[in-house]
């Protein structure tokens, strides 16, 4: 199907790209239907686009690309909420707050997005007792920014 996106105009998406957030997201609890849209020519980011409000979209990224030892403990309430049966079906992403200049951009590691790819259900999961910050620098010290390549 075709949807309107905030940044890329109309794009065609498949069913696999559509996710339901049964509880919405904090601050946007009425928004439950989103699509994951690739960034043209940029694999580092994806767009989480509301299917109801063209002006609501989040830039998201794979937190493990930047913080290879990032760890999230998924409690039973979350597993029930998005019907997790198989850990292999989980994808964890982080919302990015893009700043100008880009190097000041942050990502929210305190409240990652947990996707159940099999069921196409998702939730923003607020970690209760974590040391991860909601404004974690996307780029660490210059040399540490691309740990995975080291």
């Amino acid at each position: 199907m075709e949807i309107q996106t905030k940044y890329f105009g109309k794009v065609t998406i498949t069913e696999e790209q559509q996710f339901q957030f049964p509880a919405g997201l904090p601050g946007f609890v009425e928004e439950k239907d989103f699509a994951l849209v690739a960034f043209p020519g940029n694999e580092a980011f994806q767009l989480l686009q509301s299917m109801n409000d063209v002006n609501l979209a989040f830039v998201i990224t794979d937190p493990y690309y930047y913080y290879t030892d990032y760890a999230v403990d998924l409690d039973e309430a979350l597993q029930e909420a998005i019907e997790i049966e198989d850990r292999k079906e989980i994808v964890i992403m982080a919302i990015v707050t893009i700043q100008d200049p880009f190097k000041e951009s942050t990502m929210n590691l305190q409240a990652p997005l947990i996707f159940n790819v099999g069921k196409r259900l998702a939730k923003q999961y607020i970690l209760q007792n974590s040391t991860y910050a909601s404004k974690t620098p996307l780029l660490q010290q210059e040399q540490g920014a691309r740990k995975r390549d080291a």
Binding site: P26, G41, A44, A77, T97, Q99, D100, K103, Q110, Q124
Partner: protein, 75 residues
């Protein structure tokens, strides 16, 4: 706002299935135990507000967001 006075070990029942118990009081800190269905999300208020604010900020983004992301590939 409904205001109730409780002592240690006493509880407040909200609806059929939510109970909040005062476990301990130490100085200006109160330790609470909360029993609620798993479908009810419980958060420290300031953390929830922070996540709300951060989501709001992330959803706006600078005018030249696409340009900034494009340039980030070179850095």
């Amino acid at each position: 706002m409904l205001v109730l006075t409780r002592k240690t070990k006493q509880s407040i029942q909200i609806g059929d299935d939510i109970e909040i118990q005062v476990l301990a009081i130490e100085g200006d800190q109160v330790r609470l135990g909360i029993e609620a269905p798993r479908s009810v999300d419980i958060h420290r208020k300031e953390i929830y507000l922070d996540i709300q604010a951060e989501n709001s900020a992330a959803s706006v983004g600078p005018q030249n967001l696409l340009e900034l992301i494009e340039q980030s590939k070179d850095s």
